[in-house]
């Protein structure tokens, strides 16, 4: 990987990695640190990582950095994280449904949340998500479907509450 290839990865993937992390942990500064660490590792291993797999490599590193961060910072509640994130993110739609969905997603466990984010935000396939999160394809499918059903139930419940 040349310097130009690396900088192209920065332009192409840094926003996605940052979004993925900040949606998961809900803290911008920590998310920036994690993103920076991921690109540092990519730079160190630039001779080993192919340019085509740089995105997957970056998300893999960032995801495991995030897991470590979550384990170290268990005191923070996901709800608080959501409240903190809510004020910073630039949402394309400020609909009430979206806010309810975001609240429901924050109530998922980290694995389910990551599965949903990787699938919906980044569009990864089950296989790619499995590679990033070190899960099998069938596990990704089962866990993700389970998360969707949980979200559906929460959405129905919240809509009934709001109604």
């Amino acid at each position: 990987m040349t310097v130009q290839d690396f900088n192209h990865c920065v332009d192409s993937y840094s926003d996605g990695v940052y979004r993925f992390i900040v949606k998961n942990i809900g803290h911008e500064a920590d998310a920036q640190d994690i993103v920076q660490t991921a690109f540092e590792k990519l730079w160190v291993n630039r001779d080993k990582v192919e340019t085509e797999k740089a995105k997957s490599y970056l998300f893999t590193v960032a995801y495991h950095q995030m897991i470590d961060h979550i384990r170290k910072d268990k005191k923070k509640s996901t709800t608080d994280n959501f409240e903190e994130v809510k004020g910073h993110i630039q949402t394309s739609s400020n609909s009430e449904l979206k806010q309810i969905l975001l609240r429901a997603i924050n109530e998922l466990n980290p694995t389910q949340k990551s599965l949903v984010l990787l699938k919906d935000y980044e569009g990864y396939s089950y296989q790619e998500i499995g590679e990033i999160m070190h899960l099998s394809e069938s596990q990704v499918k089962v866990y993700l479907h389970r998360a969707r059903l949980i979200l559906k139930g929460k959405l129905i419940h919240l809509e009934k509450m709001s109604a």
């Binding site: 310097v3 630039q90 699938k119």
Partner: protein, 295 residues
């Protein structure tokens, strides 16, 4: 697998996650058109999909890398910057050379010390002998001044008799009969004068005497108060003259084979045995250096 009422939910999720093939997607869409009652269920699952948001990482500048970061100097230029360690040039005073010079200096000092010691001991011996002869001459002179200065013990041995005889001969040679073994007559004025004139001769002759008789006899003659008694009350010369006290110390030649002897260099006392060890070591060092050079 055909889509039916039992497995449609799974197909719904796969359709939402875009994991169906094109044919499966068409089949699923056809199934949903035929079962419109399930559309609400599908729409509820469809709502769980997040719409992508625009969230930017603003500090991309800290992530960029530039060619300048990879810039490196050519190896030839780096080698021109290297500095070699300065070579240490051996000076004239190397370690072995310093040791050799120090050894020579030590030997010279030892030789000077020996020479000084021997010359000093010889001078002391000569001074002692001169002092003894002077004492004898003074005794002889005092015996002339007084009428009854010297009294020879009757029990003196043969050597003493010989000495007194020799003394009487000297006295006779001076023209007076002063010395006899049993009776010493009184001295006249002329005798005293003549004795003073020939003091040097007596001293010289007394040297002969002291050389001919044994040291033991000399000790008996000089130091034994039983053999020679001096009447100080009747001897003004002796009263007015500081006669050095006689000592019985004899200066013998140095026996270099004696291990316990002490050597004096100026005021310093040096153990002869240790000094010998030092000289032997120095000699061994020189021999070893010589052997090393030959190798």
């Amino acid at each position: 697998m055909k889509i039916n009422i039992q497995n449609y939910e799974s197909y719904c999720l796969l359709y939402i996650d875009n994991e169906l093939s094109a044919a499966e997607r068409r089949e699923f869409e056809l199934f949903m058109q035929e079962n419109s009652a399930l559309v609400n269920e599908f729409n509820a699952l469809q709502q769980t999909v997040l719409t992508p948001e625009t969230l930017l990482f603003e500090d991309k500048a800290i992530l960029y890398r530039y060619d300048e970061m990879e810039a490196s100097l050519p190896s030839s230029f780096k080698q021109s910057l290297y500095r070699e360690e300065a070579k240490v040039v051996d000076g004239y005073f190397t370690r072995t050379r310093i040791i050799g010079i120090a050894s020579i200096a030590a030997i010279l000092l030892l030789l000077l010390g020996y020479q000084f010691y021997f010359s000093n001991s010889i001078n002391v011996k000569n001074d002692k002998e001169n002092r003894q002869t002077n004492n004898k001459s003074l005794k002889l002179k005092s015996s002339k001044d007084s009428n009854n200065l010297v009294r020879v013990d009757a029990n003196n041995n043969l050597e003493n008799n010989t000495l007194t005889k020799h003394k009487s001969e000297i006295a006779k040679a001076n023209g007076s009969k002063l010395f006899t073994s049993n009776n010493l007559p009184s001295l006249k004025e002329t005798d005293i004068i003549s004795q003073e004139i020939k003091t040097q001769d007596i001293i010289i002759e007394n040297d002969v005497v002291t050389n001919t008789i044994s040291s033991e006899v000399t000790n008996n003659l000089v130091s034994d108060k039983n053999a020679i008694s001096i009447n100080n009350n009747n001897s003004p010369i002796l009263n007015n003259t500081n006669i050095p006290s006689e000592t019985t110390e004899n200066y013998n030649t140095i026996n270099t084979d004696e291990h316990d002897r002490s050597i004096y260099i100026a005021n310093f006392e040096i153990d002869g045995d240790k000094l010998r060890g030092v000289t032997r070591r120095i000699n061994a060092l020189f021999k070893r250096n010589k052997n090393d050079k030959q190798k």
